[in-house]
Amino acid sequence: MLQVEEMYKSFDDFKAVNGANLTVEKGELVAVIGPNGAGKTTLFNMITGQLKPDRGNVIFNDEDISKLPPYEICRKGIARSFQIANIFPRLTVFRNVQVSVLSQQGKSRNLFHPAQELAVEETKSILESVGLSDKAGNTAGSLAHGDQRKLEIAIALGNDPELLILDEPTAGMSPEETAATMELIKQLANSRGLTILFCEHDMEVVFNFAQSIMVMHLGLTIMQGEPDEVRNSSRVQECYLGGA
């Protein structure tokens, strides 16, 4: 479904991504792991168009999307969440998700129909599925950190994506919150038939949930395989697990 081929990106002299490869098959839960600074977020930003790669291709459903702007990539069926809660702080929780659903339905430029009557059911069902229904009327900026992370995912779901990319969905969460969030993600993947690509640096989370793991180190893909394969690989242990 998604192939990332030989991606490179440098900022001045710093090689953030230096030869990344990744394959995601339909229906899989794929993780990218690597220590801080391994280039995970940069890689994700290139897949979803926030950054332009220096070199390399992103193939999604047999189409090269590496030169498209973010909004067009989104329309192809890739939605994402961000590592730092990236929401609409002055709008209500409901409106945050609704804006995304309206965009998905192609109604963002509708000038003469009240927004409050549109995309209501879809928005409510998404809020329900991430457990934010009771906070729908709150201003998004006033939510607690954990709820902002959930809202982050809910906004991405508003686009009804085929592929959902989550950049460290459990960043800054307690172990209990992390477990609950990963359970939620798994559940969403099942109920909505989503393919999910996420990155993490918490090893336990990754080995428990992912079906396929890609290991990055210093911007380079070391390997991609099933959890057991990755756990037993001497190269991975050498440059990542050993050090952790």
Binding site: T48, Y71, C74, F88, R90, T92, L111, A156
Partner: protein, 320 residues
């Protein structure tokens, strides 16, 4: 289908004010009729600016340019051609919106302050043309003695005309504010990067917002000519744009109706403090400083907050 958003709570107070204003002219002196008409015109241009500044988060620093283009368009058409008056009235907003499209298309490629700086430059270019092209625009003198159809040429006629046009514009603006377009625009203001990631073409959306806002600024320009019967290059000067910007901040730029209040305060200050001292801007400066410290959401924003309605008015929530 818009029944729900025009309920008693949202437009009730404004409707009452509107009805009171309808009955005012026979009982107040002519001077006040004129001042109120000036407030209506200014309120409309401030409201149009706030569509892009307050709801869109764009630094539209030279909005006065489009107001002036609307005014000059109608003034030139009425004095230099023999076309019917209504053609000029329609052409004003259209030409203003076209200029808005042209300038906006360059400006939306930039962000934040750079957007504002480029706009000041391009807007000042229009001012320079009006100022220098003496044979067409009358240069520094402007154009005077523009005759209006008899029904709106009296001060009362102009008053009713501007009031009704303002009311219609406010209704349309409120519909846009509450529409998916308006909601998306507010989302772009809050977080343009996130909007791109949910499939919104941010620049195009901003450009459409600019065209709509400059169209309304053009209408305000036409109304200015109706009230004043003249145009002059100050209409296009950046100082006026700054004043309009301040009106939005003063009234409350994250609210819908705030700029109306901002315009009323500014015009009143200029008129009534201006009688006593030519340094009325000093008083304005002090008010602005106090505002920044005590009412950062603006006067109307403060009132809404006091009455606990802010969440509903500013950031429309769910259907319930």
């Amino acid at each position: 289908m818009f029944r729900d958003i025009f309920n008693l709570k949202s437009v009730g107070p404004l409707a009452v004010v509107f009805i009171i204003l309808l009955f005012l002219p026979p009982i107040i002196p002519r001077f006040y009729i004129y001042i109120l008409a000036v407030i209506f015109v200014t309120a409309l241009v401030a409201m149009s600016l706030n569509m892009v500044v307050g709801h869109g988060g764009l630094f539209q620093f030279h909005h006065g340019a489009f107001y002036g283009v609307g005014a000059y368009t109608v003034a030139l058409m009425l004095t230099k051609t023999s076309l019917p008056t209504w053609v000029g009235f329609v052409a004003g907003p259209i030409i203003a919106a076209l200029v808005g499209l042209l300038i906006g298309a360059f400006c939306v490629r930039l962000t934040k302050l750079y957007f504002g700086m480029l706009q000041i430059s391009l807007g000042s270019l229009i001012w320079a043309i009006a100022f220098r092209w003496y044979s067409l625009t009358g240069g520094d003198d402007g154009i005077h003695g523009i005759t209006m159809p008899s029904i709106i040429s009296s001060s009362k006629g102009a008053y009713y005309f501007t009031l009704i046009v303002l009311a219609i514009c406010l209704i349309v603006m409120y519909m846009i504010f509450k529409s998916p377009f308006g909601a998306t625009l507010q989302a772009i203001r809050d977080n343009p990067e996130r909007c791109e990631a949910i499939g919104i073409n941010v620049r195009r959306h901003q450009l459409i917002a600019i065209v709509i806002a400059t169209f309304f600024a053009g209408i305000a320009g036409v109304l200015f000519v109706v009230v004043e019967g003249s145009v002059f290059p100050d209409l296009l000067f950046w100082v006026l744009s700054l004043e309009i910007f301040i009106m939005c901040l003063l009234g409350g730029w994250f609210t819908f109706a705030g700029p109306i209040l901002g315009a009323a305060i500014m015009i009143s200050l200029r008129t009534f403090v201006g009688i006593h001292t030519e340094y009325w801007t000093l008083i304005l400066g002090i008010i602005l400083i106090l505002l920044i410290f005590f009412l950062p959401e603006g006067v109307w924003g403060y009132i809404l907050e006091k009455f606990g309605r802010q969440a509903r008015e500013v950031v429309e929530g769910g259907s319930d």
